[in-house]
Symmetry: C2
Subunit: 140 residues, 2 copies
DNA sequence: GTAATCCCTATAGCGGCTAGAGGTTCAAGA
DNA sequence: TCTTGAACCTCTAGCCGCTATAGGGATTAC
């Protein structure tokens, strides 16, 4: 019927201290308590936490998740905010990929420039790490 | 001849508080001071900070940079550590790219699933954010 | 001499948790 | 019914790599 925090944790994959942290941050509602002050959750808390977890797994920042939760609590409002949040997140992810690809190129070059078998004084890797002029791109 | 911390900052693109933070962390050496207790840097500090900055721009964690600095201070040691650090970082970057690409796919799908022009109750984006079963991959 | 601009230390905060200390409650087995 | 031991509670501090104050002192250009 109702879950302890540990059961909720197992059901969602969210760690117990993290669940308490989300409660403190107002991202999930404070559940009812037993006489001994332990939390007891209902089905809807499970739904909410799964939603939250999935959003986190998609890389959304807490602030965006907060807005999405607000929106789902007001189902008659237009969904334009959800649309914007998804688009923003997609753009942010693409920007990060682009950046990391630049790093990948440079690091592949640097890593291949030495086999790791001579004194540090002559090491091309150390030289490459120290001198951005040897790089092919700006990588930020 | 010697630089103030602000001049060092301008020359390297590292912000003034960040330079002080690096000093506190032992990543750069504490420079000499004026009679009025202000830091004055030399050419070699500039080199060191540039090295550090470039490593950070390549995404290396501080711990790895610490090892690289140690290594460059012992130029007769073998460079195998530098080699390992570069390879590890390359691998880490590739893993992050792979992960982000999964997110990109899911978010592109989610973002395209709604134009943002109806009530939240019917919004496919909100549904997709709430239900991982609709996803195409595991994205962790 | 004075004003503008730098510089100093120290502390707290960011995001998003995670770990620990020190104590209480619950549930299953004897 | 009692006992154990796992799970729970609150509170605080720590993680990374900075960044942003606050409240002062030093330097420099005019
Ligand atoms: Zn080498
Ligand atoms: Zn570079
Ligand atoms: Zn919609
Ligand atoms: Zn998913």
């Amino acid at each position: 019927m109702d879950f302890s925090i540990g059961e909720l944790s197992k059901a969602t994959g969210v760690k117990v201290p993290t669940i308490r942290y989300y409660e403190k941050e107002g991202l999930i509602e404070a559940p009812i308590r037993t006489e001994g002050n332990q939390r007891r959750y209902q089905e809807r808390d499970l739904d909410r936490l799964r939603f939250l977890k999935h959003c986190r797994d998609l890389g959304l920042p807490m602030e965006a998740i907060r807005e999405l939760i607000d929106l789902s609590l007001h189902p008659d409002q237009p969904c334009s905010n959800a649309n914007r949040i998804a688009a923003d997140q997609l753009q942010a992810i693409r920007a990060r990929i682009a950046h990391l690809k630049k790093l990948e190129k440079e690091l592949a070059r640097i890593s291949a420039s030495c086999t790791g078998e001579h004194p540090a004084a002559d090491c091309n890797i150390l030289k490459a790490f120290g001198d951005h002029d040897l790089c092919l791109s700006d990588h930020k």
